[in-house]
Symmetry: C2
């Protein structure tokens, strides 16, 4: 451990947290048009923060969607180049009434910072900027060349980034990519992630009569769009949760016996997890553990169903339309386009009579896997161990960072996923927060790792 750097982080802690709060106050919800200017505001904020940190060529770059923030520092001649990727956009905040304090008014309680984006991913992205700034200030230079790209569309599936990366292929040349947008294995248990699931999402819209109808006068004689959407959503799974879409599992690379053995060694406590989540019954694809269901098996989940009256009391209506939002998590070697085709075929086959069904595709992400024994992965494990004092767990995870597979594909370089979040931190839900213990330790892990990367 570099003691000077350690002291520096201690001295700067309050000002770092003040800056982070400023960043978290910007409601950069990428999925909602009403926040378009806020998303851009978050990009400008990063531009200033990277300039202040000592980076060159800092720029907010247009993509057609929300912008990408770029910066570099390329003065470590003969040394490897590390590309840091993060995202400054956040998830929507509803249901707002479940937040204990306002989502965009960051509050520190119990050594945790509460705000939308605290963990996913503003807080984690911010740590990389501050770790580099610390090295530049304390050591006068970085041990490696560095490039940052921070996007504003991760929560909507990174629609613009692949084209941006493709167009800037030469400029983004690097030896490895570091991303901190995943989680630790548990409190005090650092993890390096070597696989992520991909994403394929659709919205299903069902239209029935041209206007809402009285269910007493028309009920029984026309198809109710609510029945139709329920029938479609229910058709996707059997009672055990196995996906019923034909061919859904056919390209899944089977989990190896080595992986299964390694997961068993983690002594994952399913009962504790169930208590934490507030559920009483085990549920999911038969023959797989909780870890396997979320790490190595593909899923199909409804994220919303809507239609008709949802207010207080009753309204005896047959609505003109109803719908559902569906996302699939994909594993190697599933392809998003192929899964969308299979979903379309399934819906076409299961379309209830008397309604029209339309499908809108959301953006897609490929699944990703990187060799577990790559030096960049193993070194990350060592940096964690040094700061946390315990062995690092090497994991695969259920979530998607769509751009990871793109980096792999377009730039052809290894990706290292160094997460500092905890699964209890409510990202994508009310009361998102980030444990400051991991903020403090993370700064030290990242700066140590940049030193190690100099030797790759």
């Amino acid at each position: 451990m570099n003691l000077e750097l350690d002291q520096y982080f201690e001295q700067q802690r309050d000002s770092h947290l003040d800056e982070l709060k400023e960043f978290l106050r910007i409601p950069s919800v990428s999925s909602l048009n009403v926040h378009k200017d806020d998303v851009r505001h978050a990009a400008s904020w990063l531009e200033k923060a990277l300039t202040k940190a000592g980076f060159d060529n800092v720029a907010v770059e247009e993509t057609g969607g929300h912008p990408v923030v770029y910066a570099d520092w390329l003065h470590a001649e003969g040394k490897p180049t590390v590309l840091v990727y993060g995202h400054y956009d956040v998830q929507p905040v509803d249901p707002l009434h479940l937040w204990e304090t306002e989502p965009f008014d960051p509050q520190i309680r119990d050594n945790k910072i509460f705000a939308r984006g605290a963990s996913d991913d503003k807080g984690q992205t911010f740590m990389h900027i501050k770790a580099a700034e610390a090295l530049l200030k304390q050591e006068g230079r970085l041990p490696v060349n560095m490039k940052f790209i921070i996007e504003g569309e991760e929560e909507i599936g990174s629609p613009s980034l692949p084209a941006y990366v493709e167009a800037n292929k030469e400029r983004l040349t690097a030896d490895l990519v570091i991303i901190s947008d995943t989680g630790m294995y548990g409190p005090g248990r650092p993890a390096v992630c070597y696989g992520l699931r991909g994403l394929a999402g659709i919205q299903i819209d069902v239209k029935g009569p041209k206007g809402d109808l009285h269910s007493g006068l028309y009920g029984g004689a026309i198809q109710n769009p609510l029945h139709a959407i329920a029938e479609i959503v229910a058709s996707f799974h059997d009672k055990d949760g196995t996906v019923q879409v034909e061919g859904f599992y056919e390209d899944v690379r089977p989990v190896t016996e080595e992986e299964r053995a390694a997961y068993r060694e983690l002594s994952f406590d399913t009962e504790a997890e169930k208590r934490a989540l507030g559920i009483t019954e085990d549920f999911g694809e038969p023959g797989y553990s909780f870890i396997e269901r979320t790490w190595v098996r593909p899923t199909l989940e409804a994220n919303g169903i809507f239609g008709g009256f949802s207010g207080e009391g009753i309204k005896t209506v047959i609505p003109a339309e109803a719908g559902a939002k569906i996302t699939c998590r994909l594993v190697p070697d599933q392809e998003p386009e192929d899964i969308i085709s299979k979903l379309r075929r399934h819906i076409d086959t299961h379309k209830p009579a008397g309604v029209t069904v339309t499908i809108t595709e959301f953006d897609k992400g490929n699944p990703f896997i990187t060799p577990f024994d790559h030096p960049a992965i193993q070194a990350a494990g060592k940096s964690y161990e040094k700061v946390y004092g315990v062995p690092t767990v090497f994991t695969r995870m259920g979530g998607s960072v769509p751009i990871v597979a793109e980096f792999d594909k377009i730039l052809g370089i290894p990706v290292v996923l160094m997460g500092f979040g905890l699964s209890s931190e409510n990202f994508h839900a009310p009361n998102e927060h980030f444990h400051l213990e991991n903020f403090d330790k993370g700064l030290r892990v990242i700066s140590d790792y940049l030193h190690k990367a100099a030797a790759f």
Copy 2:
């Protein structure tokens, strides 16, 4: 036709419509707490209107819920007593953006008055007050004794009225009840309705994890409440729309061959109805016509399904809860309590793993049927024929006026359903309106019928 009365209605037309507009401006939505005072305001408005019309004992009477407006005129010694029932509460107005003009700013276009409640049921209730007022002013007396009870909870299932009627049994003694809360058979085709479906409604709430979860991290390993509610809703019907709840149809009184023959004679144009509704495919319980499916067969309809994210774009969430609102329309001899028990048993049997399900009951109404050959029914047909110049159709209808069966049960007197609405008038939907042709003719039909009732 009474020519003096006819001239009177012509002279008073503008002032009648001004008064009706005043009544329609009151947003008396009974299902929403925010409109509680408006509902009461509508009751006070009626109190003034009935007093002005010349009624005695006019009062806004408490029920524990929204009040009942009572009035009587009992000076026709030795003549029958007619009890008029109506309701002054209205349905919610969402989706508001589909209204061409504001729901509570009544506008006359093309000889139709547009406003929530114009047809259901403020407009029709208002006609009875004005018909009685006309007789009192022009003839100095009513041909029969009259009582009015106008409630404010019809759209939420009349929870307080049965107890009110029971408690006021002596005071409400009458020889028949007239209700105008149903529709005509079609434009220019008057109808007297001799049967109505009953109502039994529930809300189903499904709870999964204690908070919303990220569908990437937890998808596949826990039951998704959205999948569970879809599975429950989908389990209620087979692909043809036949209800799958065990015993649902067992108490249904079969439709007679005479009734089926009479319905066939109506030459109901299913194709025209489909065009009017904007649907392309015939759908419903096999073996029954469109008319039979809506008049004589029971139904189970979802009126709303909700849970998760329904905004723009995607949010990869597994929501903590989801739900649905369900109403059944019942026919003789189904009992609401029995149907609710059967629904509970069905849901219990079909409850998906991994979630808890709770059922909330809404208010109930019995189905109703009255002998087709009763003189009060036949005389109503004659009054329509006199004003409209065409034969009256005798129908059963799909909707529910829960209190009809209660009048039958508690007061033991025949109920005559004289509707002036049209099915195209969007009651319970945006752009509700009422054809003023039927307002004008209705005043004449009602006053003629009150004369005929003097001879019962």
